[in-house]
């Protein structure tokens, strides 16, 4: 199949709702091949949901997600699995298999999807673990890891089969500044070495701006602004400023939609 | 964490134990050994009343099990029970052998007893036994007994 454009992922006017509560209200974004793109937004604005839509775990109620020219929602089971073999996704909470050691977690996809000899798998797994600095922890079970270590093992597992599209859901959460820098650089280097395309969902603006090529900002189910890191740093749009400098007051809603606060409190009194 | 090898070993031990238990049930409890696939021949017999005889009940001669009841049917012409026995080929019986339905103990299971006759010709597959004796039905016995008692009582009254 010849790709129609040099965009690997195209999200075209996507709407999505969990049980009638709209989360995404017409998101448009394109991700160029070979780039590292960040998606940012306040907690609960639907970033994880967007990644799941790209992975085909959820289907949009309106609009279309295309990956490598194929409409994800229209694929059948086999085609979707074939596409997913070329994708990696780092889950927000790691989602390591708790009944396997770190080593087996990283080896999982190699054993499931390839006929590589155990010898070669061994080398590959150790290389992946070395890259995240956890070769020494290969025999530990996930329950014996700290949160940050688990995330790094999950990262090694995500890239096990050198996918063409890698999605990271909050790769920096729970990492110390040193690991954060290392992981950030690793994501960038992996992407360039593999010729892959990466999507990073993150709150860590400073770290993200260092490594990404392009940034999308989401708010209230829409892409509100976009641009290269330099453009954003220079931007004087209020919500970008709010986000980059972490201010509580600004146009982006911090609260989950609710009734009027004073009325709610008053209702409690009356009870 | 257990290594792959020990895990396999334990699972193997488990399956072996389970199969061993099944074998124990089959051999020692269910007596697979006597569930002989030994060749048999078929002999038929009609009875007026078979009482509580069941399929697979033993057929004994001189107290030794020589075969099993294979089938029980109803003969619509003679209104008799048509019973088929499967008898071990190793045991041959004279043509004029008779069959009786007996009970093991007072209330025990019913079985078939064979009493050999004196004929020189032996029974062959598909032959029919001429001489049969039905099961003793306890209810009939009791009612007979009560009848005779009642009759006795009546006579005694008359006599007085």
């Amino acid at each position: 199949m010849i790709p129609a454009t040099d965009n690997l992922v195209e999200v075209d006017n996507v709407n999505f709702a969990y049980d009638r509560r709209p989360i995404l209200k017409g998101v448009n974004l394109d991700i160029r091949r070979g780039q590292v793109v960040a998606i940012m937004g306040l907690s609960g604005c639907g970033k994880t949901t967007l990644l799941r839509l790209i992975g085909g775990a959820l289907h949009p109620t309106k609009g279309e997600v295309r990956v490598d020219g194929q409409s994800v929602a229209k694929l059948n089971h086999e085609e979707r699995f074939a596409l997913r073999r070329k994708m990696g996704m780092l889950f927000q909470f790691g989602a390591l298999f708790t009944d396997m050691s770190c080593y087996d977690n990283v080896a999982f996809q190699m054993r499931e999807h390839t006929d590589l000899p155990e010898q070669l798998i061994d080398d590959l797994v150790l290389m992946k673990l070395q890259a995240v600095g956890l070769r020494g922890a290969q025999h530990l079970m996930p329950a014996e890891l700290s949160g940050g270590m688990a995330r790094r093992v999950a990262l090694a597992r995500t890239t096990a089969l050198d996918p063409m599209l890698i999605m990271y859901d909050e790769p920096f959460a729970g990492l110390d500044p040193v690991s954060m820098g290392v992981i950030g650089q690793l994501i960038r280097r992996l992407n360039d070495a593999l010729g892959a395309t990466s999507i990073i969902v993150t709150h860590d603006v400073a770290e993200a701006l260092e490594i990404v090529d392009y940034v999308y900002f989401m708010s209230d189910g829409l892409i509100v602004t976009q641009g290269t890191p330099d453009e954003l740093r220079a931007s004087d749009k209020p919500f970008v400023h709010q986000f980059v400098y972490g201010e509580t007051d600004g146009p982006m809603p911090f609260h989950y939609p609710a009734d009027d606060y004073a009325r709610d409190l008053h209702a409690g009194e009356a009870r | 964490m257990m290594t792959r090898k020990t895990l396999d070993l334990w699972a193997g031990v488990f399956v072996a134990l389970g199969l061993g238990a099944l074998l124990f049930l089959a051999m020692k409890v269910g007596n697979l050994a006597s569930f002989s696939a030994a060749p048999t021949y078929r002999v038929m017999a009609n009875f007026d009343n078979i009482g509580g005889l069941k399929k697979r009940a033993p057929v004994k001669s001189a107290g030794v099990v020589v075969g099993r009841v294979e089938d029980i049917g109803f003969d619509p012409e003679t209104y008799e029970a048509a019973v088929t026995f499967a008898i071990d080929k190793r045991y041959q019986f004279p043509k004029d052998t008779s069959a009786k339905i007996l009970t093991a103990g007072l209330l025990g299971e019913q079985y078939v007893g064979l009493s050999p006759g004196g004929d020189v010709a032996m029974l062959k597959d598909g032959d029919k036994l001429k001489l049969t004796q039905s099961a003793v039905v306890l209810e009939n016995l009791i009612s007979q007994f009560l009848f005779s008692k009642a009759a006795d009582g009546g006579n005694n009254k008359d006599g007085k």
Partner: protein, 263 residues
């Protein structure tokens, strides 16, 4: 008035919900069977689960079987002795075990020991997004996680029931022959004469296979269907034990009616 209609309404909703769930469960069983090819080809996946489902249930099954057999020996002797037929003790112990107690009690123990563990494990894997992660790696969790556990349960259950019965007969022998002094020869020979290989033992094995399918099915389904929260998983675990125990008893009645009717 509204209370009554509310009550009826909730009753109706529950009934519809139950039918809905049954339909989903059946569909799920079908999916599991259809996706069993992989784990039967890579049998080490099943072997691993046989370890956690079967081997870890071994102790409770063997010990309970032994005690049940010993109790049968005591009670059976006490009753048979009144009719002077204590030599039939072997028959009583063996028939009660292979026809009923073996499959049923082993099934109940299996449901609470292994069934609950399967549900909790799958439920937690779902709650911690392990199943979703697997799916994103293009590995079908039904083939990789559900099917091996299901088949391990189906394979383990008849073996456990056989061990239970065998241990029970042995326990009855210990109490009856060794402790009370029933004649050893008649204990075994009467048992062997009365227990039929097809009618009794094979039917008992069939029962245990059916129970194995039922418990494993319920356990994997409840785990897969559990809401992905701590509370959801704990409720699903309880439901597995309750539902499988009731199913075992109901199925036992139905199977017994078919198998031993007037034979």
């Amino acid at each position: 008035m509204t209370a009554l209609t509310d009550f009826l309404e909730s009753l109706g909703a529950r009934a519809i919900g139950a039918v809905h769930q049954l339909g989903f469960a059946s569909h799920f069983l079908l999916l599991t069977l259809r996706n069993s090819g992989m784990c039967l080809r890579r049998f080490s996946l099943v072997v691993r689960e046989i370890y956690s489902v079967g081997v870890l249930s071994l102790v409770i099954i063997v010990v309970s079987g032994m005690f049940v057999g010993m109790v049968l020996g005591l009670q059976g002797y006490d009753t048979l002795e009144r009719y002077g037929s204590s030599s039939a003790l072997g028959v009583l112990v063996a028939l009660s075990l292979v026809r009923e107690l073996g499959p049923v009690v082993a099934g109940l123990l299996f449901a609470s020991r292994a069934g609950s563990a399967i549900t909790a494990e799958i439920g937690l894997m779902k709650a911690t997004e392990q199943l979703a992660a697997m799916e994103m790696m293009a590995v079908d969790p039904i083939a990789r996680v559900i099917a091996p556990r299901f088949w391990a349960g189906v394979i383990s259950m008849p073996l456990l029931a056989a061990m239970f019965s065998a241990m029970g007969v042995f326990g009855g022998y210990l109490v009856g022959v060794r402790l009370i002094g029933v004649d050893e020869g008649s204990f075994w020979s009467q048992m062997q004469a009365a227990v039929d290989l097809r009618e009794d033992i094979l039917n008992g094995v069939i029962k245990s296979v059916v129970f194995g399918v039922a418990v494993s099915w319920i356990a994997v389904f409840q785990g897969y269907d559990a809401p992905p929260t701590a509370e959801g998983v704990s409720r699903a675990t309880t439901r597995t034990v309750v539902t499988s125990s009731l199913s075992i008893l109901a199925l036992d009645f139905i199977l017994t009616a078919f198998m031993f009717r007037g034979a």
